[in-house]
């Protein structure tokens, strides 16, 4: 009988062995290589890097393989590895103006300097299953020539700057201008715990690491009326590779240590003016590792929502509520805590059980509670009371 509470050790070992077997699947089918994952499941790699908060395609591919394609689990593996890495210092801010543009579009202007570059996107595809991919021999013909807009820019110079849309509208004063708070060093949630109220850099870092699905849901809710008073606009979205530079103390000048691919999004939102804030379009900002426009746009919308306090909007909806958003955005935290319910709770449940028996006994004795037809209603009320307590 005691078997029920003892014997954990061997059971766990067996569970781990079984997992290994299930993870590998049918061993007559060739094993997945990390190259295959980085090359053919690139968007999964991107998401794991973003939520794992570590830019390393190979490690992300390894995590995806190890997690059987469960991307939240893979991001968790990456986070747990990332946290052990030594920190050499901070990079200079990346300059997205000098991005090697792969895709850049604006939804607010038909054309603009730098052009509309569609790049590799599902946006304009028909979502029909392509059964030809189910057969072996999937290797599309190379394009043969670079896209036109891309051509234009390459002719000018090797490293062209594509101005951001905010710069293009600077003279108008209709768009909020971003000022740099140069005095203060940027906050880092991985080094200091979240404090409320949070500054914008903290919020942006939190959102950039946050769960794509959670941000998507919040952004959607804000868009559907639980937040935005008017329609938000994607002013610009761009993705491509940017150089990452550091200034080592002993050298004193910037050196480029590598390139990362990112997606950046700027949104405009109408603001009709409030005390101390003239009517203008306010900015939302989103950024994500790799190609991830869904995340970048959702983040920009939520960023704008979280500025409600700053611009004196009445905070009424979840997407505006800093504490609600920032404390529940992290899927590593959320996934762990939700699933901890699988752990044994014998002790706690035992004490609830004991109390419940006692209460039941008294209930049976008490005539006021126990008179025929009313029982059901009162029980219902008691259950409601405990659910809240």
């Amino acid at each position: 009988m005691y078997v029920a509470v003892k014997g954990g050790q061997r059971a766990i070992e067996n569970a781990h062995k079984l997992l290994e077997e299930v993870r590998r699947g049918d061993s007559t089918i060739p094993e997945l290589s990390l190259d295959q994952v980085t090359e053919q499941l690139g968007l999964a790699v991107d998401r794991v890097m973003a939520e794992g908060s570590l830019y390393d395609r190979e490690l992300a591919a390894l995590a995806i393989k190890q997690a059987q394609g469960d991307l939240v689990e893979a991001a968790f593996l990456i986070r747990a590895y990332r946290t052990t890495l030594p920190r050499f210092g901070s990079t200079c801010p990346i300059d997205t103006r000098s991005m090697q543009i792969e895709r850049r579009i604006s939804a607010t202007f038909k054309d603009l300097p730098g052009g509309q570059v569609l790049g590799p996107t599902y946006d304009y595809t028909h979502r029909l299953l392509d059964f030809s991919l189910a057969r072996a021999g999937d290797s599309p013909k190379p394009l043969g020539h670079a896209p036109e807009a891309f051509d234009d820019r390459v002719e000018d110079s090797g490293r062209e700057v594509v101005p951001r849309i905010t710069e293009l509208l600077e003279g108008e004063e209709l768009i909020e201008t971003v000022t740099c708070d140069g005095e203060r060093s940027t906050a880092d949630l991985t080094q200091n715990p979240l404090k409320l109220p949070a500054s914008r850099d903290v919020r942006l870092q939190n959102l950039a690491r946050g769960d794509e699905g959670f941000l998507l849901g919040l952004a959607y809710s804000a868009q559907r009326g639980f937040g935005f008073a008017g329609h938000p606009f994607v002013a610009e979205i761009r993705s491509g590779e940017v150089g990452v530079t550091i200034v080592p103390e002993e050298i004193g000048f910037p050196i480029e240590i590598g390139k990362i691919r990112i997606t950046e999004c700027l949104t405009f939102n109408r603001h009709d003016g409030s005390p101390g804030c003239a009517p203008k379009f306010l900015l939302g900002y989103g950024i994500a590792f790799g190609r991830n426009e869904r995340k970048a746009i959702a983040m920009a919308l939520v960023d704008r929502m979280l500025r409600s306090r700053e611009i004196g909007e009445y905070i009424r909806y979840p997407a505006q509520d800093e504490e609600f958003v920032l404390l529940h955005s992290d899927n590593i935290e959320a996934s762990g805590f939700v699933q901890h319910l699988k752990l044994p709770h014998y002790v706690d449940f035992q004490s609830e059980l004991a109390l419940m028996r006692q209460r039941r006994e008294e209930f049976e004795k008490d005539e006021n509670y126990n008179n025929g037809g009313e029982t059901h209603e009162i029980e219902h009320r008691v259950v409601e009371g405990t659910a809240r307590s």
Partner: protein, 305 residues
């Protein structure tokens, strides 16, 4: 960017039997700077008994909600000389306890035990051992929700203000409402305590049966909440009182049965369903204490099986 480490030849996670450590990771998993940060937080927590200190909690290779706070505290305290005991629900052999114990024997090469009196560090989830702890021992609690007022006031800023002002009216109103509605205080586990007559503190989800053990305990009691990023502490010999009223004093759970294995009548019992006909037995939740009391009983009466 390419990964800067040469993991492709030798993936991290391979055991190096010489150091009792895992290759690619620091002793006891966390890097030394993180350990120092956590130790500072612990010192602060000990200096202000019962007060929650925010800390930069790290991601651990175990999920949030599975003991990451406790693991971080243990990882930053543990050394090669330590002897570690890990329990979950009072037992050394439940899945999570096995997993955490294995984690530290792997990453810290530390000796582990199931005997309460042998351990220098005891990490626990949901119980305090029945065997009284002594000076020099450290009891590390895993805490899911460190804020004792959370379900009365969901907002952290509000809770912070309540603690700062020691304006604990709502905590007592909650108890009063229980009495008005049910005739008694209905909190069963995670029953709030007041530490040195100042801070209301969550004892973690231990059954209220264990609350009196916290009072003036000779061992250090440390509480780690990883996901919520808080550490708090009860230093040795500190007064810990469970909230109550003069006319409705604090009471602990009692059972009519004794333990079916060791016969103890003074321990916390788990209920075990033995068949589908409604039969139950009750056994000690603390498996180590149960084993000991069984041996003792056998010594006194050899006829007992």
């Amino acid at each position: 960017m390419k990964s800067s480490i040469a993991w492709s030849k030798e993936p991290p996670g391979v055991e190096d039997p010489k150091s009792g450590n895992i290759e690619g990771y620091n002793y006891a998993y966390l890097d030394e700077q993180t350990k120092r940060m956590i130790r500072r937080t612990i010192l602060k927590a000990i200096a202000i008994p019962g007060h929650q200190i925010p800390f930069a909690s790290r991601e651990m290779p175990l999920p949030y909600g599975w003991g990451t706070g406790g693991i971080q505290i243990t990882a930053s305290l543990i050394g090669p000389e330590d002897v570690l005991k890990v329990i979950d629900q009072g037992s050394d052999d439940t899945t999570n306890a096995v997993s955490i114990r294995a984690f530290f024997s792997k990453t810290a090469g530390v000796r582990t035990t199931i005997r309460t009196e042998e351990a220098s560090i005891i990490q626990t989830r949901h119980r305090i051992p029945e065997t009284p702890l002594r000076e020099g021992q450290i009891l590390v609690f895993q805490v899911p929700i460190p804020e004792p007022l959370r379900f009365m006031e969901p907002r952290q800023l509000e809770c912070d203000a309540i603690h700062a002002l020691a304006d604990y009216g709502i905590a007592y109103v909650k108890l009063y409402e229980d009495i008005a509605r049910y005739g008694r205080i209905a909190a069963t586990f995670d029953y709030p305590v007041i530490v040195e007559n100042r801070y209301i503190m969550s004892p973690s989800p231990i059954p209220k049966f264990d609350n009196p053990k916290m009072d003036r305990m000779p061992a250090i009691q440390l509480f780690g909440a990883g996901r919520e990023k808080r550490i708090y502490a009860v230093p040795p010999y500190t007064r810990v009182k469970s909230l109550d009223f003069e006319d409705y004093p604090f009471q602990v759970e009692k059972w009519e049965q004794n333990c079916a294995i060791c016969g103890a009548s003074d321990t916390y019992l788990d209920e075990i369903i033995t068949d589908d006909k409604g039969n139950r037995i009750f056994v000690c939740s603390d498996t180590d204490a149960c084993e000991k009391s069984k041996k003792k009983r056998k010594r006194l009466d050899p006829l007992i099986k």
